[in-house]
């Protein structure tokens, strides 16, 4: 039951893009076409989940015991950068087809603040999910990270769909491109606001 609440909360109520403002740059950058948007979402999904698990363990077994939590930012970003590189190398060897599909997105992910944002949030914030406030355990953290990245994918794919239609419509010159896109996201966020309070 609690896992279900975590999933609903992370995907709809606290959607990472529309409510938490993380990962906006790639969200605006590669949402022109549905196919690239879904490719990017997959890659992000993979990296966020993996990075959260690894940084969670590093934080718990290295930084906290040695009283080095002030190094969180620097340690996490280095881990994420190294992880992304490793994923790239492994994918290239193991599954060339998947690499073909995700490859171009991977280097971009290091500077996607959604990855670092989720990693830091998971180890510093208390969550409630309908019950008592508590720090997340490894299992919950993994589910939370995975669900959050699903939320990212959902927002991305929905938005790409809207944008493909926007491209075919006439809009005033000053609105062309990003401005109209941002206004559409605003309206989408307004719709997602309706979910707030259910968890």
């Amino acid at each position: 039951m609690e896992y279900l609440l975590i999933i609903i909360s992370a995907i709809f109520v606290n959607n990472i893009v529309l409510a938490q403002f993380l990962g906006i740059c790639p969200f605006l950058g590669v949402s022109n076409k549905l196919s690239t948007a879904s490719g990017m979402s997959l890659a992000v999904c993979f990296v966020i989940t993996l990075a959260t698990v690894v940084t969670f363990l590093i934080n718990k077994y290295l930084l906290v015991p040695f009283g080095l939590t002030f190094l969180q930012t620097i340690a996490f970003i280095l881990v994420i950068a190294a992880l992304v590189q490793m994923v790239e190398i492994v994918l290239k060897k193991v599954s060339p087809s998947l690499y073909q599909a995700l490859g171009i997105f991977l280097p971009l992910i290091t500077t996607n603040c959604a990855v670092l944002g989720v990693a830091i949030n998971v180890v510093t914030k208390e969550f409630t999910f309908g019950g008592e406030a508590h720090m997340l355990g490894l299992g919950e953290a993994t589910v939370y990270a995975f669900a959050t990245s699903l939320g990212y994918g959902l927002a991305m794919v929905l938005f790409a769909g809207i944008r493909e239609h926007l491209a075919m419509n006439e809009v005033p010159k000053a609105f062309k491109g990003l401005p109209i896109a941002l206004i559409s996201v605003g309206i989408m966020a307004l719709a997602f606001l309706g979910f707030s309070g259910i968890v």
């Binding site: 930012t73 620097i74 670092l116």
Partner: protein
């Protein structure tokens, strides 16, 4: 390029928010009021100036293949320094901006300026570039913050001019996107003239 235009270009011609469209996350998340926007802008500027200076100094000796990791380490160091200083001397501000202080590390403006400017220019020019772009970023954030605060809570810099509430949606997430979108339209319109 003259020294003066290095500073002023960030305000209009290369405005990081409205023209380059970089660093969107803090731009949207921390501009719930004018003061928050201003503080976030200044925090980013602090890191930007220092990392620009250091990167322009070390760029000639950094091997090409490892330049990104080296830059990230430098930027992350300054961000951590900023975190510690803010915790010590402005704990309230640190609490308000929260997660978005450590996230300065992945603010594309900073790595972007390191790649596009600091690694091929001298120390002075890089510092000025940092000040210019930083000012542009701070100004944009403050303007967005002012608009959202006026519409959302009927106040400017905490000074309330209507009693009761504003249009709450503007303080919440959707308002951030809408205000930025419309300000961009305005910016495009004015820049065309």
């Amino acid at each position: 390029m003259s020294k003066f235009s290095l500073i002023t270009k960030g305000l209009l011609k290369e405005n990081p928010t409205f023209v380059l469209v970089l660093g969107m996350c803090p731009t949207l998340a921390t501009t719930t009021s004018a003061m928050n926007g201003l503080e976030m802008g200044l925090a980013t500027m602090f890191v930007l100036i220092l990392s620009n200076i250091v990167i322009s100094l070390i760029a000639p000796i950094v091997p090409d293949k490892v330049h990104i990791p080296v830059y990230i380490v430098v930027i992350a160091t300054f961000v951590t320094v900023l975190q510690l200083l803010m915790q010590a001397f402005t704990p309230d501000v640190y609490k308000t901006l929260g997660l978005f202080i450590p996230l300065i590390v992945v603010n594309c403006i900073i790595l972007g300026r390191a790649e596009a400017f600091a690694n091929k220019n001298g120390v002075w020019d890089s510092a000025l570039d940092g000040i210019g772009i930083g000012l542009g970023f701070t100004l944009s954030l403050t303007v967005i913050g002012i608009v959202r605060e006026i519409l959302g809570s009927g106040a400017v810099f905490g000074w309330k001019f209507i009693s009761g509430d504003g249009i709450l949606a503007f303080v919440m997430a959707p308002g951030a996107f809408l205000v930025l979108g419309y300000l961009m339209v305005l910016f495009n319109k004015l820049a065309k003239k």
